[in-house]
């Protein structure tokens, strides 16, 4: 949610480097932003609003220094105001701090500091940190020791970066909140995510919980909290910084919707052998689980519901849980494999659920898009969906890639009666999806129903998660009321909401019992005069009862889920575009939710 950047060794380009980094992190949070620079003194500039507002505030500010830190914020404590924006300072203005996460004991620390005579200027939990550093400095500690002492007092989650007047260095620490170093010739960067400095370097060092870093003109050193040096691996990231540009699309979300065929090919690459009819799961080894519990949030939870069905179809008991519920009321796990699904690998609720499972001795796995993420490092196994960076806050291509990856996972671990047919359908998926992108009539549907009071989505079996995801996309980016239901559940209550003003989107694929029963549900809706949009491969006669049809090619039902969802992504996107919504950064939402 919040984004941190830090930079040493860029001389007079330091400020521009920081602001550039913040602009690359803006997707993580965007209600306020600020930067601080330090040499013998600390100077800073911060403002509520987006990076553009920070840029204009900087025009009239004069900041100087050889090292600097910056921050974009998404509120957890205190409203988005100039005062609550980071960096935060001590009483004398000699210390500046940026922070992600939540300091759980901040109230007691604040009470203690106020009693000792410190003056607080914001409502944030973060502000206790500069005052703790100030206290330690006053008792004679050198800057590094003072920051260490402050960090040792904190409970909760944090990624912290600190500059101190006269220290010519950045001090950083992490616990439960991501932090990564970027290594360049003569310069070192620090950020909560790689895109912040990816334009300058591709060599990175991921910090682990409980680690402390010092960045100065002579380089970088990572230590544990006691000060003992830690040997760190230098990784190379292969993400292309240009993938973070919009390349002519009006929104990142539309760009990412269009990237899905390529993302799917990358997900399948060298993992499926169509001629042999086999799936190769990298180095996951033979897991052969006797049971599976998925934990996930939001869109990833919908992917998890789909994944659980695939395992059940293969005869392995499987359930999907909302991670936030699982973490606080852990069900009996037995010897089930616990699989977290998280795009960022940093979702706090999912991390908590995985940790709760691990604490009970369970084997854990994560299905994620982010190599080197906390979830990937903490879990016993990681399986990457390889969708590439996703900037739009509302997930699109990563959902499709999660579904493809979950197919590979189940085929590889449990097999299927029709493995060859599934592999075939997966190999055909990029082409089939391209067809939907080229030919979808979603924009016409959006035009017709942009003023509807509410939108309902129904589906059954593998298409039920699509109904939920279609509704979530609609909520996220149009701010309109939307709900997804299991088709059979409609008549048990929600049908009372259905009127001629509420379009109902029905996903009907194949012509099996599930499809025929869903057609029955469509008839119930049609009888209430609701406009019906059928997303279908045309194998049933649902088109007769629908006002509109969004066609998908005939394929395996597992692949049909991805195709049906693409139509619904486009319906939500075009509806939001017509309503003039801030599609890439919907109100109140952040890309990667790193607080519980």
């Amino acid at each position: 949610m919040c984004g941190i950047i830090g930079c040493v060794g860029r001389g007079s380009e330091t400020l521009e480097t920081l602001v550039h980094g913040l602009s690359k992190l803006e997707y993580r949070g965007y209600d306020s932003a600020g930067v601080a620079m330090a040499d013998d003194t600390v100077s800073l500039c911060k403002t509520s609003g987006k990076i553009a507002e920070l840029r204009s505030a900087l025009d009239s500010a004069s900041l100087s220094g050889s090292v600097g830190i910056g921050h974009t914020r998404w509120s957890t404590h205190g409203p988005p105001t100039d005062g609550n924006a980071h960096p935060h300072q001590d009483c004398h203005g000699d210390v500046a701090v940026v922070h992600n996460g939540i300091i759980e004991n901040y109230q007691s620390l604040r009470d203690e500091l106020v009693a000792a005579g410190h003056t607080f200027t914001s409502d944030t939990d973060t502000e206790v940190v500069p005052h703790l550093v100030e206290t330690a400095l006053e008792s004679g500690a050198d800057p590094e020791a003072a920051v260490r002492e402050a960090v040792s007092r904190l409970e909760g989650s944090y990624a912290i970066a600190v500059v101190v007047a006269g220290a010519d260095a950045i001090f950083a620490a992490r616990n439960d909140s991501p932090l990564v170093l970027g290594l360049d010739d003569g310069a070192t960067y620090l950020a909560s995510d790689v895109p912040a400095f990816r334009d300058f370097t591709d060599r990175v060092v991921y910090l682990a919980d409980g680690e402390f870093a010092r960045l100065d003109s002579s380089g970088w050193v990572v230590t544990d909290l006691e000060g003992a040096a830690v040997e760190k691996d230098v990784d190379t990231v292969d993400w292309d910084p240009e993938e973070t540009g919009k390349s002519g699309y009006d929104h990142y979300m539309l760009k990412e919707i269009h990237e899905q065929p390529r993302a799917l090919r990358q997900c399948l690459r060298e993992r499926v052998d169509e001629m042999a009819g086999t799936v190769d799961l990298d180095d996951l080894g033979d897991l052969s689980p006797t049971g599976v519990q998925f934990v996930a949030c939001g869109t990833s939870y919908h992917a998890a519901l789909y994944g659980a069905q695939l395992f059940r179809e293969a005869g392995i008991p499987a359930q999907a849980f909302l991670a936030s519920e699982y973490a606080t009321s852990v069900p009996p796990i037995g010897d089930a494999l616990v699989i977290g699904v998280t795009q960022s690998g940093e979702t706090a609720d999912t991390l908590s659920a995985l940790r709760a499972a691990e604490k009970r001795g369970a084997r854990t796995m994560v299905v994620t898009n982010t190599v080197g993420s906390t979830a990937a490092r903490e879990s016993d196994h990681a399986f990457y969906i390889r969708a590439g960076p996703e900037i739009g806050v509302a997930a699109s291509k990563t959902f499709s890639s999660q579904l493809a990856a979950l197919n590979l996972l189940t085929l590889g671990m449990a097999g299927s009666d029709d493995t060859r047919e599934v592999i075939n359908a997966l190999r055909e998926l990029p082409g089939d999806l391209q067809r939907i992108l080229d030919e979808s009539r979603a924009e016409e549907i959006a035009e017709l129903y942009q003023d509807a009071g509410a939108y309902f989505f129904i589906g059954r079996g593998l298409q039920f998660p699509v109904a939920l995801e279609g509704a979530l996309k609609m909520k996220e980016i149009t701010y309109k009321h939307a709900e997804g239901f299991a088709a059979g559940e409609l008549k048990h209550g929600p049908l009372a909401l259905v009127t001629s003003e509420t379009p109902v989107f029905a996903v009907v694929v194949g012509d099996d019992e599930k499809a025929r029963k869903t057609v029955g549900n469509v008839k119930e809706v049609e009888a209430r005069n609701a406009p019906v949009v059928a997303i279908t491969d045309g194998q049933t006669d649902v088109g007769r009862y629908a006002d509109h049809v969004l066609e998908i090619p005939e394929t395996h039902p597992r692949a049909a889920t991805v195709l049906a969802n693409a139509h619904l992504q486009l319906v939500a996107y075009h509806t939001a575009a017509k309503l003039g919504r801030n599609i890439d950064k919907p109100r109140n939402l952040a890309k990667s939710v790193t607080v519980e």
Partner: protein, 369 residues
Amino acid sequence: MLPAGNRPILEHVFDALVEAGVEELVVVVGYKRDRVQNHFGPTYRDVPVTYVTQRKQLGSGHALLQARSAVDGSVLVLNGDRLIDAGTVAAVADRFAETGDATLAVVERQETSRYGAVEVRGGEIAKLVEKPRDGDYRLINAGVYGLPADIFDAIEETPRQAGELALTDTLERIIDRERVRSVEVDGMWVDATYPWDLLTVAREVLARGRVVEAGRSDGVWIADSARVHREAVLQGPVVVGPDCEVGPDAVIGPDTALGDNVTVGANAVVQRSVIDADTRIDPGSTLMDTVTGQDVHLGAGTVVPAGPADVQVGTTIFEEQRLGAVIADRARARGNVSVTPGSLVGPNARLDVGVTVRGNVSEGAEVTR
């Protein structure tokens, strides 16, 4: 985007520009703009790319006019569907830089009747002539221009012909008033007017080794992520794109390009053909001199024999073209289908089991026995 080998022609054009030292690319996109934007992204080989949309296709001058806000000063202007090399771009850029006059590349061709011919006198363009009879002229307009910043005003001042603005109409007006320089070039210059031209284009690209995949041996290029069965036979020159699968005993090549994610089943034979992305060729099929679009599915035992054959486009018959068939995007052949050489099968056409296609099949048509 039409393929030159297994990459879009436009990508080869970008290569020529980047290799000639161009530092900024502006693309005017209209038809299928999403595809273009998605393919190239915001930069190509570290050169920033700006996209400008032409909402109505009202001629080449109108297209260039759309780029006005994205361009500051003089411009190099090229067609996106002609295969050219960096030397041609550099020659035009150099002459334009020396003189400051509008400059246009010309190239020698026998068949001038397909193109815009030019009459050159003393290094200057004297006249532009659209599609003259063969033999009357020697040089044609290569479609590579160096133009001063005031070209945009000149286009706006040009009267529209039937609502359209052709860049050549504006150039004719400039020729009447001032000097337009010509640069004769002899580098690669191949255009794709008709779909079967893509076979020539692919041959040219492969012969020059303008391929990004790693070379496995002489004239055989295979992407790292492609899966080629060890008992498949690849006869160079041939390129196999990323994520392709080629089954046992398949024979691919020579002069063949497989685009991204193409599947060729066991015992299939694909020679002198261009197969675009996501296409599937099922076991036992034989394709000669064939161009397929994207996401085409050819069921087991589909047979397209080699040309030459007569090809009908509209009311015109092109005689003795070396063409098996053109099978457009998303066409489906269910299996055991024969296609007579010279046939054009339209997008989304459905060919039922066992049919024989003679001649052209229109878009979306179903052919049953």
